[in-house]
Subunit: 433 residues, 2 copies
């Protein structure tokens, strides 16, 4: 394999041989191919794209660059869910135990929040004592015991993806659908799962702002999964306003417990039923979407999902009672009130995410620390009426007055209030199997 030849072929829009793609990734991971050649290659891929066979080879090479988790000795289907990232998305916390309670194992490897989006790992770490960096043997033991395990990516899982992602970050090659898809799938396929449900977010709070881009990513992800011999389904779901009413970390665990206790916000419940049903279908625990939804609703309603979650948290060292007991809402709140009567038309989810970063509840750079006690509470959501002077949104009071002003201004600008009733957006926009 001649690295310059491979770069030139992609530059000129020709398809690459699978062996060349694999050799390039191996060479880059080992250090034989320098950063500058990989950077030129990534930009050529960004602008020329990759076809299905090239993408399968890229994903496979990244996947095989590190350890593979082998869960074959655990009985039953192992199904994971991956979300492309949004604001207020705490679905994994209650979805995984609900699916596990229905007899499908969920070995879930989650990520941290970055930019305006939150991360499941950050939310889990707001539970005092909860360990997200389990060794593989412990991960397997938790999964065997309670049907789910919730951990973070280890350094030995798909290291090629880590190295390539770090390079993409500094060379303007992040927002490429094939590169995003290969990055996601290489990590997920290393988990030892049988199938995967993908929650591809679309809208103001998502990386994919348009339905066309979301569709392209969803189809690409499903295709990579199929080529790797895994069952995969993608749901394109609405991320035009935040999910649920709370944005932060400890508050989102609390809001997720509400779902597990049978009194969750309608949008959180609806998305849990939709994603859970697809996971049960892939895992063979339901024959139809309807049956899947009923089973998930049952597990949420009778306390089985909550029990599974409690057991998982306990096994991973978390003290859930501290979240339930302690004043998880930072005491002082600042409110943003409506300046006019009307109906909420839109809540710009990306702006809410940036407000969360400003409060310390999210991070701009990977190395930033998070304050799990900070929060934003959306008192009004899209389609809800508001009178002049009524609160639209409130948030935990930051120490600096200037920060409070900035956050209030960001949140005020995120809301659009008008006289008419907004067109209703479906939460699940499309399903791609």
């Amino acid at each position: 394999m001649n690295a310059v030849e491979v770069i030139r072929r992609k530059r000129d829009g020709h398809p690459l041989d699978g062996d060349d793609v694999r050799a390039f990734v191996r060479g880059y991971t080992s250090g034989a191919i320098p950063d500058y050649q990989a950077a030129a290659w990534l930009m050529a891929i960004y602008l020329r794209g990759l076809d299905g066979a090239e993408l399968a080879a890229l994903t496979e090479a990244m996947l095989h660059s590190g350890d593979l988790v082998d869960l074959a000795d655990l009985d039953g289907a192992k199904i994971d869910k991956h979300s492309t990232g949004g604001v207020g998305d705490k679905i994994s916390l209650h979805l995984a135990p609900a699916v596990a309670a229905c007899g499908v194992r969920v070995p879930m490897i989650s990520g941290r929040g970055l930019g305006h989006t939150g991360g499941t790992l950050d939310k889990l770490e707001s539970i005092p004592g909860f360990a997200v960096d389990l060794p593989v043997e412990k991960f397997r033991a938790v999964l065997a015991d309670c049907g789910l395990a919730l951990i973070g990516q280890t350094a030995r899982l798909a290291p090629a993806d880590k190295k390539l992602y770090a390079l993409r970050d500094v060379t303007g090659t992040v927002e490429s659908i094939p590169l995003i898809a290969a990055s996601i799938m290489s990590k997920k396929l290393a988990e030892g799962i049988d199938g995967l449900v993908l929650d591809v977010k679309c809208g103001s709070g998502a990386f994919m702002k348009t339905l066309d881009r979301a569709r392209e990513l969803a189809a690409t992800l499903v295709d990579i999964g199929r080529r790797a011999g895994k069952r995969a389904t993608a749901l394109i779901t609405d991320m035009d306003q935040p999910l649920g009413r709370w944005v932060g970390n400890a508050v989102e665990v609390r809001e997720s417990l509400d779902v597990l206790e049978g009194r969750g916000e309608p949008d959180l419940v609806e998305l849990t039923l939709a994603l859970g049903a697809e996971m049960l279908l892939l895992g063979g625990a339901a024959r139809t979407v309807e049956e899947g939804r009923e089973k998930i609703a049952g597990a949420l309603g009778d306390g089985r999902a909550l029990a599974a979650f409690r057991r998982c948290v306990q096994l991973q060292g978390g003290r859930l009672d501290e979240i339930e007991r302690r004043g998880w809402i930072a005491a002082e709140a600042i409110t943003v009130d409506s300046e006019r009567p009307g109906v909420v038309q839109a809540i710009d989810a990306e702006a809410v995410g940036h407000a969360a970063i400003r409060l310390g509840a999210g991070r701009l750079r990977k190395e930033d620390a998070i304050d799990p006690s900070q929060w934003i509470h959306l008192m009004r959501k899209v389609g809800e009426p508001v009178a002049t002077g009524q609160t639209l949104v409130r948030f935990s009071a930051p120490r600096a007055r200037e920060t409070a002003h900035e956050v209030a201004a960001l949140l005020r600008a995120a809301y659009t209030v008008e006289d008419v009733q907004p067109a209703r957006r479906r939460l699940v926009i499309e399903v791609i199997r």
Copy 2:
């Protein structure tokens, strides 16, 4: 200037601010911007292009990255010629003294051969003792004395170009018209010239294989020159067969001396008149092309051009008599004879260039050494008749029999002989002012 932002803008096809382009080049030259960011940027430029203003800023930044030669204290116009590279192209050797003999100074900075193309510097170095790496003061003194000076690029001239070129070479970003044009013009504009004639080669032996690509490069070069406030004219000339009858180094000096002695090959003379006339026009030494051609023909005919060349070689330490005296044709020759009667239709110039590399007369990599005594002699050129068994081409016998077979096979395949008379190609295809 945020390097990633600049990369992203170009990636997305947006025009870059001139200040950003200059800052990027400065940052890369100083080492503040790493190779991998420059590589991604170059690939984005390769695939998205640069407009005239961006290109002017890029060229200017590269030009100002090093020393500028100031020739303002020398009287008269200073005009150079640059060729984009071909096979058998020894034009500079006799063109520069012919123009100097007509009263226009020619401060010529030439390059080495690379790939299938030869380089003026390599040919000059086949003259025993000839020094191509003069300090600027000596360069100026030679130019003041005999009206021309023939040197190589110094390390301090446009170092940004050297660094960028080395990166392009290993990242598959060489064949980009804007990057080629900026590279050429940044070096030429650093020479302290008033104007420049560009010989843009087109055909099988050129980097630009099609007339469209050659036109695009020619127009780009002229535009950069204009924007930098210099007079510039481009000639698109035929490089579908080698120029003259000899390909090598010492042999090309000898063939060039033939032109200076008034008995040159018709194609060499014709191109010299065409390029020389344009140089005299730019330098104000002729009012019309016709007048320019007559003046150049006069200088070639009455020995003034030859005298200028002899003086230049002498000032730069060369011993021309050794080229003239010694057996410059390596003694033993191998001939390739025609296997059929007919007329030569085509001589693939790139293939001839590769045969020259195989003989050691050219170099594949920059670090390769050249054997100046090796040669190829085209006994038949396009349009000339040949009988079965008559020699098409001969070459200096290499030591290894295998090499001889390879070179003979390359040269045989380079020739096309058929019954009909081939369509006549014009040597000067277009002039772009």
